[in-house]
């Protein structure tokens, strides 16, 4: 089924905004509601918009299954490397060794501050990013597998 050009144009216009919103939810995961999973789901719904607006043969040129699978694997690897990296310096599994005074995300949270500081949290923002990558890859692979099973020309 061929979608109308209204749907295609709307999807093209809305896609970058949904992408920015999902990335915002992921990056601010340790400060505001949301986090890796929610932001990844929002990013995947943006990918879904492209998949539904275009035909399957067209949309697989934009959203490639190999890329989504590598996103998923990269997210999982990043998460487990971030968890294991604390053991290199002699601390326990998942120890947040970056939190006070690390080279990135290392600021100390000001006491009683009303203004949230993005540069805090240590390993937690990195793990949010890893979970976001993993979720967007996994859900996109599921949707591509669902769409590829339809015999009708989408």
């Amino acid at each position: 089924m061929q979608m109308s050009s209204i749907v295609k144009t709307t999807a093209d216009i809305l896609f970058p905004f949904i992408l920015i919103y999902g990335l915002y939810i992921i990056i601010h995961g340790h400060l505001t509601p949301g986090g890796g999973f929610q932001g990844g789901a929002i990013l995947a719904s943006g990918v879904l918009l492209l998949l539904l607006a275009y035909r399957y043969t067209e949309s697989t040129k934009i959203v490639r299954q190999v890329v989504m699978k590598s996103f998923e694997s990269t997210g999982l690897l990043l998460f487990i490397i971030a968890a294991l990296s604390a053991m290199v310096i002699g601390a326990g599994f998942f120890f947040n060794w970056l939190s006070p005074g690390g080279f990135i995300f290392g600021d100390v949270v000001a006491y009683g501050s009303a203004v949230a500081n993005l540069n805090t949290g240590g390993l937690i923002p990195m793990m949010n990013i890893a979970v976001g990558l993993e979720v967007v890859g996994a859900i996109s692979v599921i949707l591509l597998a669902l769409l590829s099973g339809i015999k009708e020309k989408i």
Partner: protein, 84 residues
């Protein structure tokens, strides 16, 4: 008082949406009613001071699940009880 009225409206709307999902024979209408149910549930979560769950419910329930149902309906039959 105004919060109670809002809660009552949303909960009644959720019940109506769930009953509509049961009674619709057109499966696309049923999927859209299920999306409405998820949307109202997300608003209810937000009213109950759980914005984290509300974001997850809005993205997964109202967005991705509805789309997955519609993709599956496209692959099979539109009406309930049809032969494929």
């Amino acid at each position: 008082m105004i919060e109670m009225i809002l809660h009552a409206f949303i909960l009644i709307g959720m019940i109506v949406a769930a009953i509509l999902v049961f009674f619709f024979k057109d499966l696309v209408s049923a999927a859209v009613a299920f999306g409405l149910f998820s949307f109202l549930l997300a608003i209810e979560f937000y009213l109950l001071q759980a914005p984290d769950v509300a974001i997850a419910e809005a993205a997964i329930g109202a967005g991705l699940t509805t789309a997955a149902f519609i993709i599956a309906i496209r692959g099979t039959a539109r009406q309930e009880g049809d032969e494929v």
